[in-house]
């Protein structure tokens, strides 16, 4: 099983500015001034090994879209944020437009950042493709249709050439989707949101974004930990700091790196992936948050080590 991250930002796209790119290049040139970077290989090694992630690369700015590859013929995606545009291009490059495919998409909820890529989801324009959109959220169909409609978008939903189906799921039931076993989980979030646990080939991924967890609510914390239990990977909404999420941003519907570690430790999950990055946080900030989260896991560890990473656009985790 593989998790391929096409969009990892929260709330709205956050592309790098010209100034930010310039600052990265200037910093890299200064740091590499005395290294003999006269081949592409040497320069690439310098970029990935000597520079920090934030110095040499970027976490990216596309909103939520994660592909779960389980080895079957169909595609399985979580959410339709702006990252789905690049996913579309890669899928089309792989098969060409003449070969129909089936795309299964689990949608957490219909806040704009999680569906705004759908109008640019190229497979929807191609006859013969099959697209199945699943959610526990009751308004998925209304939101997707409403987005592809004048005056917001010139291509009406009804004119899309692919066959598009909406499937309403129920929490706690088990479904067979794209060859994976999928269960859903109701999450605390404005206008509701749902997490998905995807299991296939003895591996499990939990996609849990746009979810607030209240540390004082033991029953709810246990319920979340049970949903994460022994997962190989938990993709977790770590948008805020703990202090923010229980003070000024309480009831804003998002969680923190600290609660991600606590829940994954309780759940005996194997890997925590920080996701739905706050758009205000630049690359250096996210690097720092990741380093702090790794340290927090170390100092609070009671059992086996929990691996911690921060999602970036283009990241692939093989399980």
């Amino acid at each position: 099983m593989k998790a391929i991250f096409w969009g990892t930002r929260g709330s709205l796209p956050a592309p790098l500015s010209a100034k930010a790119v310039e600052a990265k290049i200037v910093n890299a040139l200064v740091k590499g001034a005395h290294a003999s970077l006269d081949t592409v290989e040497k320069a690439r090694a310098f970029c990935t090994e000597t520079l920090s992630f934030a110095e040499g690369r970027t976490y990216g700015g596309n909103t939520a879209c994660v592909q779960i590859e389980i080895g079957g013929p169909d595609y399985l995606l979580c959410d339709l944020g702006t990252g789905v545009r690049e996913f579309s291009l890669s899928a089309l490059a792989k098969h060409g437009p003449g070969k129909p495919q089936t795309y299964h998409v689990l949608v957490s909820h219909v806040h704009w950042d999680h569906i705004m890529g759908f109008p640019f989801f190229v497979p929807a324009f191609i006859p013969g493709n099959r697209i199945k959109l699943y959610s526990c959220h009751p308004h998925l169909e209304r939101a997707i249709r409403g987005q592809n409609r004048e005056p917001c978008f010139p291509v009406e939903f009804e004119t899309l050439s692919a066959s598009i189906e909406f499937v309403t799921l129920e929490p706690a039931k088990r479904y067979d989707i794209a060859g994976a076993s999928v269960t859903c989980f109701e999450q605390l979030h404005g206008n509701d949101s749902f997490g998905y646990r995807i299991e296939a080939g003895g591996k499990s991924v939990v996609y849990s974004t746009d979810a607030e967890h209240k540390p004082e609510n033991a029953a709810e914390m246990e319920r979340a930990a049970a949903f994460f239990a022994n997962a190989d990977l938990v993709i977790f909404d770590a948008m805020y700091s703990l202090a923010e999420s229980i003070s000024v941003k309480e009831d804003w519907g998002h969680s923190s790196n600290v609660l991600g570690v606590e829940l994954c430790q309780t759940a005996c999950a194997k890997q925590l992936c920080l996701f739905h990055h706050e758009p205000v946080n630049d690359d250096a900030r996210i690097d720092a948050i990741l380093a702090e989260t790794i340290r927090f896991e170390e100092i609070t560890r009671t059992g086996t080590a929990l691996k911690v990473c921060a999602a970036y656009d283009g990241m692939v985790i093989a399980l």
Binding site: P215, E216, A218, M221, S241, L242, A243, E244, I246, S247, S256, N257, V258, L259, E262, E292, T293, R295, F296, I299, T300
Partner: protein, 117 residues
């Protein structure tokens, strides 16, 4: 978690010891708010004996801190162990609470007339 407290002038010096987590966060909150009710100006919480605090414990601190603020009182935290300082920094609680290296420094700032011996 063990708890003790004593009145020092208009303030209360409280001391928690052990681990503060989900299992005792409510008791911790109740002890702390009771101490705050007895204080006229501030509670200085000596955390030198606390080796771990979870998110639930931090939330208890936040609740009492907010309620105290609304009444014009202060909650000052003092003498955190290095590990606790790290937890406060990572969770950004260091930006919320007044945190002091020693109990004496905390009193000097939040209840200057009531410095403990």
């Amino acid at each position: 978690m063990a708890w003790s407290e004593r009145q020092v002038g208009d303030a209360v010096l409280a001391e928690a010891r052990g681990r503060i987590d989900l299992s005792n966060a409510d008791a911790f909150r109740d002890d702390l708010s009771a101490a705050m009710a007895k204080a006229k100006t501030a509670v200085v919480l000596d955390l030198s004996g606390v080796d771990y605090i979870s998110s639930a414990g931090l939330r208890s601190l936040m609740i009492v801190f907010k309620a105290a603020k609304a009444e014009g009182k202060t909650l000052a935290l003092a003498a955190l162990q290095p590990l606790l300082t790290e937890i406060f920094t990572i969770s950004r609680f260091n930006l919320v609470f007044p945190v002091f290296d020693t109990v004496r420094a905390a009193f000097g700032k939040v209840a200057p007339g009531a410095a403990p011996p």
